[in-house]
Structure formats: C-alpha cells, structure tokens
C-alpha cells in the first residue's frame, strides 16, 4: 500500500528541483529542462489524485504532455534564433533589448 501523500512528496521534490534549475542556471537549454521537470511534477500530482476508475486526471496529464511538446519545440526554435543573433545562449550576456 503506497500512501497517496508519497506521490505528493515526490512531486513536490521534483517541482522544487526544477524551480532551482530554472533559478540558478544560466544556460537557456538547462532552463527548458527545468521547466520540463516542473511540468512532470504537476502531471504526477494530476495522476496521483485521480480517482480510481476515473479518467479525468489522465486526460489532464495527456493534454499537459501535448502542451509541453509544443512548448519545447517553440522554446528551442527561439533559442536557436537567439544563438544565431547573439552567438551565445548564456542568458546573462543577452541583456539588450534593442538592436
């Protein structure tokens, strides 16, 4: 018997690790990885609190996965464009707004 809180604890740990990655890293791709971790933590919560025999939580998780795929594609396209323009994806060095 696995208590449902243990899913919540793992999800909370994953979420805060993802948040720490987003807050402390300078590389744009690592920040995307952190966002993926946070989305996974949210998915785990949706599935853990899903009532057994019900499918609502599963559909929430599926649509989150679809949106995460779209987000990763658009995010990496923007990162590639930034790299072409600035020759770096170090977010500390990309500090100008105008041309």
């Amino acid at each position: 018997m696995i208590p449902v809180e243990h899913f919540y604890y793992i999800s909370a740990l994953l979420f805060s690790i993802g948040l720490a990655v987003v807050l402390t890293r300078k590389n744009a791709i690592l920040i995307l990885i952190g966002i993926e971790l946070m989305l996974n933590a949210a998915n785990l919560n949706f599935l853990a609190s899903n009532k057994s025999g019900d499918v609502e939580g599963q559909f929430f998780a599926l649509f989150v996965i679809v949106v995460a795929a779209a987000e990763a594609a658009v995010g990496l396209a923007i990162i590639l464009k930034v790299y072409k323009h600035f020759k770096t994806i170090d977010l500390d060095k990309i500090a100008e707004i105008k041309d």
């Binding site: 018997m1 793992i10 740990l13 402390t24 890293r25 952190g34 995460a68």
Partner: protein
C-alpha cells in the same frame, strides 16, 4: 514487493533530478533527464495510468529529449571548450526552492485519503470513448495547438529563404 519497486523508482527519479541540478555538463543533464522521465513514467504506472506512462516515454524521451540534444549540439560553437553550464544566484535559488518545497509538503498534509495498493488497469476502451466524446473539444484544440506550434517553430528557427536569395 510493490512498495520496494515504487521506492526504487522514486529514489531514481529524485537522484537523477538532483544530478541535473548539480552537473556541470549540459549533455549529462540531458541524459539524466531521460532517467528522470523514465522514473516518472514508472511512477505513473503505479497510479494505474499506463497509457499516460507510454505516452510519456514516447513523447518526452522520444521527442523532447531528442529536441533538447539537438538544441545542445546546434548551440555549441564546437571550439573545443566545453559548453558553459555555470550557475548563478545559488543561495537565493536554493532558498526559494526550499521554501516552495516546504510549502507544498505542508499543503499536502491534509490529503491523507486513500493510496495505491494492488495494481489496477484502466480500460483502454473507456479511455478512447471518453477522449472522443466528453473530451472532444480539448482533443481538437490540442491538435490545432500542436500544428500551429510546430509550424511556428519551423518558421522561427528555419533559414530565411528571402534573405538568402538576395
């Protein structure tokens, strides 16, 4: 037995997530992400959501990780020096993450109902019927969103044909 497997995958997930947080090599971070996603997919199975687990493996590991590795390779100048994966704001980042963690754990104290014991299977037939009846609108919206996002990504990232011709 179920508990042992569950806590094995839980520890695997959390340890590889910590590895992403602390590693200096961005490619190692992408590889540790694969292990984290596999562990999370295994945890999905314990919540009787095996369809979501398989979807997670196919889309995240088969798609998103490959995209991320491509991104790593395309944004590396190949000049011999390793890619910068330095970290900043370590103390404040750790403090904020710790505060969020404690808040989430404190907030989940109230939900002590139930648990996952024996392995149960969600009927795939039920899942498909629900997807095409109750959840038809989100399904179609997700399809359009994915199409628009992928076309936009290829337009944003792709070479500008006009500027190349001129």
């Amino acid at each position: 037995m179920t508990e042992i497997v569950f806590y094995f995958f839980a520890v695997l997930t959390v340890v590889s997530a910590f590895y992403i947080l602390f590693t200096k090599n961005i490619l190692h971070a992408a590889l540790a992400l694969i292990i984290t996603l596999l562990g999370v997919a295994a945890l999905y199975v314990f919540t009787a959501a095996e369809f979501v687990a398989v979807t997670q493996i196919m889309i995240y590991i088969g798609g998103i990780v490959v995209l991320i590795v491509f991104g790593v390779m395309l944004t590396n100048d190949m000049s011999g020096k390793s890619i910068s994966a330095a970290s900043i704001n370590r103390l404040s980042g750790a403090l904020i993450a710790l505060a969020v963690l404690l808040t989430l754990i404190y907030g989940s104290q109230g939900f002590t109902s139930g648990g996952y014991g024996k392995y149960t299977i969600t009927s795939m037939e039920n899942l498909g019927k629900e997807l095409l009846t109750t959840y038809l609108l989100p399904f179609e919206v997700a399809a359009v969103l994915l199409l628009v996002a992928l076309v936009a990504a290829s337009i944003v990232a792709g070479n500008d044909l006009k500027s190349r011709a001129s």
